[in-house]
Symmetry: C2
Subunit: 607 residues, 2 copies
Amino acid sequence: MPLSTLKRKLIGTPLRTAEAFNERLSKFAALAIFSSDALSSVAYATEEILLVLILAGSAALSKSWPIALAIAFLLLIVTTSYRQTIHAYPSGGGAYVVAKENLGVYPGLIAAAALLIDYVLTVSVSVAAGVAAITSAVPILFPHRVYLGVFCIALITLANLRGVRESGRIFSIPTYLFIVSFAIMLGVGLAQHFFFGEGNAAAQDLVAPAQDLTLFLLLRAFASGCTALTGVEAISNGIQAFKYPESRNASVTLTWMAGILLTLFLGVTILSHLHHVVPRHGETLVSQLARDIFGTGFFYYVIQVATAMILILAANTSFAGFPRLSSILARDRFLPHQLASQGDRLVYSNGIIALGLVASSLIWLFRGETHALIPLYAVGVFLSFTLSQAGMVRHWLALRTSGWRRSVAINGLGAVTTAVVLTVIAATKFIHGAWIVIALIPLMTMGFRRIHEHYTLMAKQLSLQGFEPRKFREQIAVVPVSGIHRGVVTALQYAKTLSPRVEAVYVDLDVEATEALRRHWESWSGGTDLVILDSPYRSVLGPLLEYIEGLERSHPDALITVVLPSVVPARWWHNLLHNQTAWFIKGALLFKKHVIVVTDVPHYLTH
Amino acid sequence: MPLSTLKRKLIGTPLRTAEAFNERLSKFAALAIFSSDALSSVAYATEEILLVLILAGSAALSKSWPIALAIAFLLLIVTTSYRQTIHAYPSGGGAYVVAKENLGVYPGLIAAAALLIDYVLTVSVSVAAGVAAITSAVPILFPHRVYLGVFCIALITLANLRGVRESGRIFSIPTYLFIVSFAIMLGVGLAQHFFFGEGNAAAQDLVAPAQDLTLFLLLRAFASGCTALTGVEAISNGIQAFKYPESRNASVTLTWMAGILLTLFLGVTILSHLHHVVPRHGETLVSQLARDIFGTGFFYYVIQVATAMILILAANTSFAGFPRLSSILARDRFLPHQLASQGDRLVYSNGIIALGLVASSLIWLFRGETHALIPLYAVGVFLSFTLSQAGMVRHWLALRTSGWRRSVAINGLGAVTTAVVLTVIAATKFIHGAWIVIALIPLMTMGFRRIHEHYTLMAKQLSLQGFEPRKFREQIAVVPVSGIHRGVVTALQYAKTLSPRVEAVYVDLDVEATEALRRHWESWSGGTDLVILDSPYRSVLGPLLEYIEGLERSHPDALITVVLPSVVPARWWHNLLHNQTAWFIKGALLFKKHVIVVTDVPHYLTH
C-alpha cells in the first residue's frame, strides 16, 4: 500500500476550505467540553497532596483537608478574576493575547511559552493518570503503562489529525458520567461514614514518618494540590463557541464549573481522610476509595471508566488549544510559519503532530508516572494565570470604565495570589522537576525572538522597495560532463538554447578514460568545445569549482548557469550505485553564495 | 575548527597521483609483512581447540595434539597447493581471479563474497584476540574490551586512510619479535618439562565433563583449530611486491612461513598439554602458559605485547586486502563504483571506511569475544581455498603444460581436502554461527549480480548508438511564485531569457494574500501574466503539478522548464523556518519521470 493511501485511510480524504463551520454550544454542552481539563484533575490532585504529606508519616495525612480548603479558596479567587477576563475579552482572552496587549511583547511571549508547556503537560499528566485509572482496575497492565500511554496519545493525535468535531453531544457523556458517578461515590461514602461508621478498612496501613512535618512540607503539599486548578482558564479561551449572549453564558458556565470542581475536590479529599486511605504504588487513591466504598463490583468499574474517559478527554482539549496557540504565534512570526497553515483536513496538522510527539516523549522519559510529571505541571499554569491577571489590571487602569476600581481590585488580588502561589510552587518543587520548566521558559522566549528576527530581516532583504535588479551583459552555460552519453548530449543541447557560449567541462582522473572521451567527443558534441581540467588530487569537485570561480572573475558581467546532466535511476537503491556528483556540485555552489543558476536536465532510466 | 580542517589533521594533506610508488620487498621483509595474518592465529587456534574439548571434561584435553597434527598435515597440503598458484599466477592469484578465470563468473563471485567476509572477520577476530592479550596482562581493562576493540579498529582505519606505506622495516619488528619470543617460550617451556619436570602448576583445574567425547565433538575441535590456516593465501595475492625473481621468492617465503606456523602452532599445543593448561574466561591460554613458564615478569609482558602487536598487524593486512578486492569488484561492476576510486591520500578510502565500520559492528555485536566470532571465521576461508584450488585444477586441465598431471594431482588433493574440511566446519559450527556466513554468501552473490545488471542496463540506456535527440518546437518557462519579492523578480527576469513564453503561477490559499499579490504584480512582473490556481484543499503542490501536466498535454512539442525562485537563508537552522516548497516541487517532478528541466535561481540572504 503506497504511503499516500495509508495516510488517506488513517486521516481521511481532504476537506475543502469551504467546509469549515462553527457550531455554537449551549451552556450544558459547553460545560462538558470546556471543563473536562479542570474537573479531571480531581482524579489526581488529592493523591498528590497525600503523597507529600505521607513523608511525615500517616498521621500527617490529616493535614490534607485544611490544605484542600486553601486550594478551594484559591480557586474562588482565580474564578472571580477570570469572570472579568471573559467580559473584557469576549473574542477569547488567552493569557498570550491579554499579556501581549497590556504588558508588552515579552510578557506575552513568556505567557505563550508557559501555555505551550502547560498544554504539553496536560496531555502527559492526563494520559498518565488515565492509564493509572485503567491499570488500577486491571493490574496486569501496570508494567505496560508507558506503552499504553504512548498508544493513547497516538490515538488522540490520529483522531485530531482527522479533525475531531467538538460535538457537544458525544463529548458530554464522559464529563457528566464523571460528575454523576463521583457525586454518587461521595454521597455513599459520606453516608457510610456518618450513618454506619464504616470506612476504616484501610486504617491498618500505618506509615512511619521519614521526615518532620515542616512548613516547607505543608507548602509542598499545597503546591502539589494546586494542580487541581489547571484548566480553569479553558472557558476564557473559548467564549466564541457559546450561544448568544456569549460572555454571559461563558461566565455562568465558569461559575458552575468552579462549583462542581470545588465540591468534587473537597469531597474526595475529605472522604480519603475519613476512610484513612493511604497512597500506594500501583493503585490510584480514587481506585482505593471506590473499592473501599463499593467493593470491586460494577460501580467500582464505572468510577474507573469515568475517570479514564474524562482524563483522555482532558488530554484531547490540549490538541485543540496547542495547535491554535501555535498558529497564532506563527502568524505573529514567533514560530515557524509551517504551524500557521491548516492541513488537508482543516486542522493545524503540524501543531497536532508536534504536540503528540513531545507529550509521548515525556510519558516515555518519566516512565508514565503521574507523580513524576506533577512538579513540572503547575509552574506553567500559574505563570500564565499571573501574567494574564496582571494584564487585566493594566487593562482596567488604561480604560477606566465604570467600576474599574473594583475590577482592578479583583484582578489585582488574583494576580498577587497566583504570583505568591507560583513562588511557592517554584520553590518547593524546584529540585523535583520545576527547574526544567523554569529553565525552559526563558529559552523558549529567546527562541521566539530569534525566529521573529529572522522573518523580519528576511522580509527586509526581500523587499522590493528600492530594488534594482542586476543586469547581466551575457550568459555563459557550463556543463560538467562525466563522459559522453545520452544524458550529456541532451544537456548540451539544452545549454545551447541558453547561450551561444557553452563550455563542457571534464575532470581528468584517468588518462585512458580521458583519451576515450576525446575521441568520441567530436561526433556528438555538436561543436561545443571540451575543457579538460587537471586534478592531481583526484577530486572532481575542486577543479570544477575553481574553474567556475575563474570564469566569474574573468567575466564579472556574465550570468553563469551550470547545466547538470542528471541521470535519474529507476529504483531508489540504484542511487547508492552512483556518485551523486551533481548533488555535491549543487551543495558546493550553494555554499559559495554567488549568484549562479543551477539547471537540472534529467535523463530518466526506465529500469 | 571546520570539518575540512579536521579531516586534514586526521588524514593528512592530499597526495598527487604521481606520488604513487611501489617498493619491492626482500624475502625477509616480505615474510614479516605477509605472514602476520597467518602466524597471529597461533595466539588463539590452540585455545579454540581446547575450548571445544573441555566440554567433555579436562581429561579430553589430551586429544588436542592429535588434532593439531591433523591440522599441521592440512597446512602442508594447502601450502603445496598454493605454491603452484604462485607460479601459475605471478601477477597475483587471489581466489576471485583464479575462480572467475577458470570456473566462471558465479564461482568467482562466490569466492569474492567469501573473501570479503574473510577480510572483515580477520579484522574482528584479530582485534578481539589482540585485546584479549592486553586484558590478560591488565585485567582491569577486561570490562572495557568492546571499547578497546572499537578504538583499535578506529586507529587502524585512520592510519590506513592516511595511507600506510607497507614499509618492510617497521612492519617486520612485531612479526620477528613474535617469532623469536614464542620460540624462546617454547624452548624454555619444553626444557622445564623434560629436564626439571616442572609445569604442572595448573593441574588442579579439573573440569567435569558436560557431554561425551563424541566424534562430532572431535570434529568440532578440529574445525575450531582450522582457524590456524587463515592467512596462508596472503602471499599468493602479493607476488608483485617481491623482488625479482618474484614467483620463486614468493614460493620460498611461503614455505618458510608454513614451517614457522607449523612449529609455533604445534609447539603451543604440545606445551599446553604438558603444562595442563585449561582455557579460562578472562585470560588467554598463551597468557596462562607464559605466566606458568616465566612467572608474571618482564618476559611475560614481552610475550603479551608481541602477541597483541602481531594481531593488530594481522588486522591491518585486511585493510590492504579488502579495499583492493572491492576496487577490483567495483571495476568489474559488481560493487558500487565509488569503491573503485582512490581518495586524496591515494588509498581506496571508501573501502577502508566500510571495512572499519563493519568490523567494529561485529566486535560490538559479539561483545568483543574471540570465541564467539570463530565459528563465522573459517567458513569463508576454506570456501575460498576450495574454489581457488578447484580453479587451479581446471587451469592445468586446460593448459596441459609439462608436468600438468602432477599439478592436477596436487591442486586436486588440495581442493578435495579443503572441501571436506569446509563441510566439517559448516556442519559442526552451523548452529554456533557458521549459518550466518552460509546464508550471507548467496545473498552477497545475488547482490553482486543485481549491481552488475544495473550498470549494464544503464550503459545500454545511455548509449549513443542510434540515439536521436528529441527535438522541441518551443520552450515554456513556468515560474511558481509564493508572492512578489526580490527572489521572484530575479527568477522572472531569468525565465524571460529562456523563452518568450513565461507563466508565473501562484496557488491561492488565502483570499487576502492573493488580492495583495494581484495589486502589486503589475509594477514588478515586467509584463508576465500571473496564473492563479485554485486550491480547495489548501495544497500548494497538487494544483501546481496538475497545471504543469496540463501544459505538457496541450503542448506536446514544448520543452517545459520550471524556474524556481529559491531564497537561501544565511544559517542552516533558518531552513527549518521555511516551507521547503521548492524542494517538494523538485521531488515531485522527479517522481513524475517526465522530461522537465528544473532551474534554481538563488537569492541569498545575508543574515
